[in-house]
Amino acid sequence: MKVKDIVSHLSARVITGAHSLDESAEYCFASDLMSDVLTLRADNMLLITGLANVQTIRTAEMSDIKTIVFVRKKKVTPDMIELATENEMVLIECDYTMFKSSGILYSAGLQPVY
């Protein structure tokens, strides 16, 4: 699924990485626990999280995750944008809950990691 379609499905806002909207993700994982994210081996993965801090971006960097959706109206901070830009990531803010976001994207065809 293309990033621009993810944004559209979630009525979300792209905060940084607008030039990568034609990139796509095949898998999705939803968690506020970065320790869980770090155990995943899947590639081409979207992360849905309500944890908005710099370590979320660091975790994505180490896990080769290029797109993150921040749910529950969480706000991305300038230091997160700086680190995400260095790593050519797309950061998206979404007003929906994690459950609703996950349900919409699952129905639209994104695959679970396991």
Binding site: S35, D36, E61
Partner: protein, 140 residues
């Protein structure tokens, strides 16, 4: 190739700087991306452990043709029972560490899962030494 980094205990804004730099170096060396991911995830877990639990630490990395060896030496409270610390779900992390998305007792087991060899030595009240090796040529 030898790389060395210092790690500050308690400073989460800097946690991951060493892992990030190592990832950059390994990409330049054209290491397989799947192996890079295993290496940097293992190092990041270990780096976060120092930030979360120790007062300060140092990371020494040796990159050879066939393997990478990572040594993390910290000054900190140490681990009283390493066997228990290796069990998934066991954690002594503070509320601050948990708020950062860590402290679920998954770090050491994940380092083991991603490495080909792992050794841990710890002395209570002195510190902990974590050493892991990952082969660069054969995928796990």
């Amino acid at each position: 190739m030898h790389l060395q980094y210092q790690v500050e205990g308690g400073n989460f804004t800097k946690a991951g700087l060493a892992s990030s730099d190592l990832k950059r170096v390994l990409k330049l060396l054209n290491v397989d991306p799947k192996i890079i991911k295993r290496i940097v995830v293992a190092l990041y877990e270990a780096e976060v452990n120092i930030v979360a639990h120790a007062w300060k630490g140092a990371i020494y990395i040796e990159i050879e043709t066939e393997k990478i060896n990572v040594l993390l030496v910290d000054e900190g409270p140490g681990i009283p029972d390493i066997e228990m610390a290796m069990q998934q779900g066991f954690s002594t992390a503070s509320a601050v560490v948990r708020e950062m998305g860590f402290g679920a007792g998954m770090g050491l087991p994940n380092i083991k899962n991603n490495s080909d060899e792992l050794k841990i030595h710890s002395e209570v009240g002195v510190g902990t030494i974590v050493e892991f090796t990952i082969n660069l040529n054969n995928e796990q």
